[in-house]
Symmetry: D2
Subunit: 336 residues, 4 copies
C-alpha cells in the first residue's frame, strides 16, 4: 500500500492544536509535593510533533493559539528556533492563558501529570482563524484529538479538515485522547468517529480506539472493518509492549516491535513516535520502516527528561535502530 501525498508543496506537514508549557520536576523519583524546582519546556502533542518533524528535517508548520504573555512568547520563540513555521500561530487577545502540565516522576512506572487546562488559549482557536491559503501549501494536516474537546477549537479543526480535503491535503489523525476537558465518553466518541471517518491515516493506542468506538476491549479486526468503510487508507494501532500494528485498506498488516530501553518517564512517547513514523512515510521508506522509526524515536524520548527538547535527529534514530536490530529484524510482515 502506498499513502499518496500531494507533492511539491512548501510544507511536508502542518500540525493543528495545542502548544503549551511542560514544567518537569527537576528532582525525580519523589512525589511532587517534595519537588522544589521545575524546568520549563514547550509541550502539547501537536506542537511536539511539529518540533519533532522539523528536527528530522521536514518542513513543518503549526496552527494554534497562544497566550499574549511570557509563556506564549516562549513557545513562539522556541518553535522558531526549532525551524517550525509560526506564521499561523495566533496570539489570543482575550486574556486566556497557556495550558500547563506539571509532570511528576515518582518512578518509571508511576508518572502523573497535574494539568492546568481551564479556559486555555489553545481551545479558543476559532474557525474563522483557519486560512485555506496556508493549509493548501502543505502535503499533510496533522490533527490532534484533544483540539476537538471544546468549542471553538473543535469547529476550527473541523473547518481545517474540510478545507484540507478540498485541497487534497492528506489528513492524519493522532487520537491523543486526554480525559480532561471532555464532558462525556459519548461526546468524545461522536467527534472521534466523525473525524476518523474523514481522515486518511489514523494513529493511536488500542485504548484510544476503544474511546473512538465507545466500547471496551475492542478488537483491531472490528476497528479496521468499521473504519475502512470510510476515508482511511492506513490505520496504526499501538499496543504498548506488544508493539504496534499498521493496517492498510488493501488488506496488508504490518507489526512493529517496541524496542526495550531504560525508561525514565512515559511522557512524549506518542509524539516522538508520530514524528518519526510520518518522516519515514513521507520519505518513501515504506510502512515496515516507518514502524521501526516510530518505535525507535519513542524509545529515545522516554529515556530523557523532556518531550520536545529530547526529540531525536534522523542520525540518532537510525543509529538506535542499527544497534537494536542487529542481528534480528523485529518488524514482521504478517499478511500480504
Amino acid at each position: 500500500m502506498k499513502v499518496e501525498f500531494s507533492k511539491n508543496r512548501e510544507f511536508d506537514i502542518i500540525a493543528i492544536g495545542r502548544a503549551c508549557i511542560d514544567l518537569n520536576a527537576t528532582e525525580y523519583n519523589r512525589p511532587m509535593e517534595e519537588t522544589m524546582t521545575f524546568t520549563k519546556y514547550v509541550g502539547g502533542s501537536p506542537a511536539n510533533i511539529a518540533i519533532g518533524s522539523s528536527k528530522l528535517g521536514l518542513n513543518a508548520g503549526f496552527i494554534g493559539k497562544i497566550s499574549d504573555d511570557q509563556h506564549g512568547r516562549f513557545i513562539q520563540q522556541y518553535m522558531n528556533r526549532m525551524g517550525v513555521d509560526t506564521s499561523n500561530l495566533i496570539i489570543d487577545k482575550e486574556g486566556h492563558k497557556t495550558g500547563l502540565a506539571f509532570t511528576e516522576i515518582k518512578s518509571p512506572e508511576e508518572c502523573s501529570i497535574l494539568m492546568y487546562r481551564e479556559d486555555v488559549a489553545d481551545l479558543y482557536l476559532a474557525p474563522s482563524e483557519i486560512r485555506e491559503s496556508y493549509l493548501k501549501r502543505s502535503s499533510i494536516l496533522l490533527v490532534s484529538g484533544t483540539a476537538l474537546s471544546k468549542s471553538p477549537s473543535r469547529e476550527a479543526v473541523l473547518n481545517a479538515i474540510q478545507l484540507a480535503k478540498r485541497n487534497h491535503v492528506l489528513v492524519i489523525f493522532e487520537l491523543d485522547y486526554r480525559p480532561y476537558t471532555w464532558k462525556s465518553r459519548e461526546e468524545t466518541s461522536v467527534y472521534y468517529s466523525l473525524v476518523a471517518e474523514q481522515s486518511d491515516v489514523i494513529l493511536g493506542t488500542r485504548d484510544e480506539y476503544d474511546i473512538l468506538e465507545n466500547k471496551p476491549n475492542g478488537k483491531n479486526k472490528d476497528t479496521i472493518q468499521y473504519l475502512f468503510q470510510h476515508s482511511p487508507g492506513l490505520i496504526v494501532i499501538k499496543q504498548g509492549v506488544e508493539g504496534s500494528f499498521a493496517y492498510t485498506r488493501e488488506g496488508e498488516t504490518y507489526k512493529g516491535k517496541a524496542y526495550p530501553t531504560e525508561v525514565l518517564k512515559t511522557f512524549g512517547a506518542g509524539d516522538s513516535y508520530a514524528s518519526a513514523f510520518l518522516y519515514a512515510l513521507i520519505k518513501g521508506k515504506g510502512i515496515e520502516s516507518a514502524l521501526k522509526y516510530g518505535s525507535a524515536s519513542a524509545s529515545i524520548v522516554v529515556s530523557k527528561h523532556s518531550s520536545s527538547d529530547a526529540m531525536p535527529t534522523v542520525q540518532e534514530i537510525e543509529q538506535f535502530i542499527r544497534e537494536k536490530e542487529s542481528p534480528l529484524n523485529e518488524s514482521i510482515h504478517v499478511k500480504g
Copy 2:
C-alpha cells in the same frame, strides 16, 4: 429518481430536536407592545413536522427534551393527542425551561418573533439519551438544523445520525436555520455542511443553503454539485414566490410553484411544507406531486393563526390542490 426507504418499519418518521411553546398574539395587526393576550400552541420546527405528519396519517415519533413543568407537560399531552409517539421524549431533571416564541403579527409582511431560548431544555438532549433500539424502528430520521446549534443537543443529533445510518434509516435534514444560539456564521457552516454531507435528503430555502456554504448569493448549480459528491440523493431548495426546486443525484430537476393565498402570517410555512412533501414521498406519489403537496400545505398554514394546530389533513391538501390546479398544472418537469 426514487428515494429508497426501509419498508415495514413501525414508524414512517421520527423527528429529533426542539419542541417548544408558541405564544401567538391574539390581537393582530398591531405591535406586540399593544397586545394584551396570547394564545398558547406547541411549536418548534421538528415538533411541528411530527405533528403535521401524524395528522396526514403517517406514524410519527419524536425525540427531544422537555421541561419538568406545566409547559413541558402541555407539549407531551398535545403530541399524544395528535397521535405522535412520545416514548422517547425525555423530561429534563436540571431545571431547564421550555423555549418560548412570542409572535407578533403587525401585517402579513411584518411578522417577528420574540424568542426565549436561554438554556432551554431542548438543547440539553444528551448523546447518551439517544436509543438505537428506537431509531431502527423508523424509515426516516428527520433532523432539524437548530438542534445542532449547541452542546449537548448537537452531539445527541450527531450520534442519532450515526446510529440512523448504521441501521439504514433515511436521514432527512431540514435546515431550519435560526440565527440565535449560534455563535458565528463559521460555526453554523461547519455543522450544517458536516450533517448535509451525511444526509440522504435535504430541505431548505436558498438563504439557508447560503448559510450552509458560508457564502452569499450561492447558485443552486454549485450547491448541488458540491452536495451530490457526498451522501444526498435529493435536494429541495425553496425560493419563496419563485417556488421550489427539487434536484436528484441522477440529474433530474423538478420545479414546484408557490400557490397564491391570503397570508395572515409567515410562521409555520416550512414545517407544513416538509410534512406534506415527505408524506407524498413516503406514499410513493413521486417528487412532482410531493412539491405540490408541500406547497399546498404551506399555503394553508400561512392563512391560519397557529403553526401546529393549523396543520392540514390529506383531504384539505388535496382539495386545495384541485382548486388551485384547475385547469393549469403549475409544476413543470424541467430537465430529465
Copy 3:
C-alpha cells in the same frame, strides 16, 4: 415613633430592582396545562410598588434594567402611563430578556408561578449605572431583596444604598424573598443581613426574616433585638392570617389585623401592602393607620386578577377600611 424623611424632595419614593412581565392564565381554577390564553401585565415586586405608590398619588420613580424588545417597551410605556418616572430605566444592550412569570390559579389556596429568570435583564443592572444625582432627589429608596440575588444587580443595589445613606435618603428594605436565582441559604442570609443592618425600615413576612437570620422558626423578639442594634428604626413583620406587627426602635409594638376577603389568588399581596403602608407613613398618618392601609390594599389586590393593574386608589382603600372597620377597630396598640 416617627420615621423621619428628608422633606421637599421631588420624589417621595424611588424603587430599585426588577420590572418584568406577568402572564396570568385567563382561565382560572384549572392546571396551566389546560390554560390556552394568558393576559399580560407588568410585574415584579419593586415595579408593582412604584406603580402602586403612583396610583396612590405619590411621586414615584424607578431604577432598573429592561430588555430592548417589545416586552421592555411595554413595561416602560405602562409605567409612564401610570405616572412612574422612568428616566433611570436602563435599556439592556446585551440581548438579555425580560423576566416572565406565568401564573397558575388552580384554586385560591393553590397558586403557583412558572418563572423565566435565566439571565434576565433586571439582574444586569450595573453599579456604574446608578446615578447619585437621581437618588438624592428622593425621600425614600425602596430596595427589593430579589435584586440582591445575583451580580451585577447585587452590587448596583449595594451601591445605591451607600449613595442613599450619604444623601439622607431613607432606605426601606422589602425582603421579597424568591428562592430561584439564589445559590444557597447562606448566600441569601449574608446579603439580607448586610442590607437589613443598613436599612431604616424593613418589611417582610416571618418566613422571610427566618431567611435573613438563616435559622428556622425565629421569634420576633430575637429578630428585633438583633436588628435594632443596627440602623433600622421600624420593622414590620407580616404573619398571614394572624395579621402583621410593627416594631419601633423606641420599643413600641403595633398589631394590624388581616381583613377577611374573597381571595382569587395570593400574588401581589405584599407589593400592594408595601405601597399603601408607605403611602400612609409618608402622609404622616402614623404606624397604626399605615398597618390598616397596607392590610386593606393587600385584601383588595388578592381579590382581583392582576397585581399591577389592580393596585387600588386611596379612595378604594379608605372605602374598604370604613366597611371593614365598623364598628370595630382591628388594630390594637399593644405596648407603648
Copy 4:
C-alpha cells in the same frame, strides 16, 4: 490609642483567603521567556501573613480552600511545618486548581507576575464552610481583599466577618488589591467600602484606598474622615518611599519611615509588613514600634528571593531595626 483584643484566646490571629503557589524564576534579571527553571514557594497574601505571624511566635490559623492535588498538599504540609494551624483548611472536591503566580524579576524596578487565577480553589470557599466555633477561638480575624473578588469566596468572607463581630474577634482588613478577577472598579469599591466600614483595623497602600473610595488621588484626611464614621479604630496608609502613616480614631497620627535596603524584588513586602506590624501590636509595643517592625520586616523580605520562606524572625527584625535606627529614630509622632 489602644487597639483592644479579646485576651486569652487560643489563636492570636486567623487569616482567611487564598493560599497558592509562587513559581519564582530561578534566574534573575532577565525576561521570563529566557528563564528555564522555577522554584516553588507557598504564596498568597493571607497565607504569607499567617506564616509570617507564626514565624514571629504568634499562634496563627488559616481558613481557606486548596486543591486536591500535589500543589494543595504541598501548601498544607508547608503551613504545618511553619506551625500554622490548618484544621480549617478545606480540600476542594470539585477539581478546582491551586492558583499560580510566576514571578519575573527583570530588575528591582521591573518585576511582574504572570497569574493563573481562572476558577482557582481559593475562590470556591463557601459561606457554609465557615465555622463560628473556630473563629471565636481567635483574637484577630485577618481578611484579605482579594478573597472578596468572587463568589462564593466573597460570601464566605462576609459571613466570617459577621461571625467575628458577633464573637468580639477584632477584624483586620488587609486591602491586598489585585485587579484580576474583579469585574470593575465599581464592584471593588462596593465590597471594599462595605468591609472597611465593618473592620476595626485597616492596612493598605494609598493606591488601594483610592480603589476603596473609587476616586483617584485621594487624600488621607478625607479617607480617615470617612472611615472613622464607621467601625475602624486604626487606619494604616502606606506610601512607598515616603513611609507609612497610622491614624487613630482618637486623632493621633504616627509616621513610620521606610528603611533603605538592597531590593531584589518588590513581591511580599506588604505581607511581611502586616505580619510584623500586627505582631508588635499584639505584643503591646504600641503603634510607633509597630510601624518600625512592619517597615523592617518588609525591607528584609524584598532583599530575598521568596515571600513566604523569607519571612523574618523577631530577632532578625529587631537586629535590623537596631542597625538602621542608630543613631537616628526614623519614626516621628506627628500629632497627639
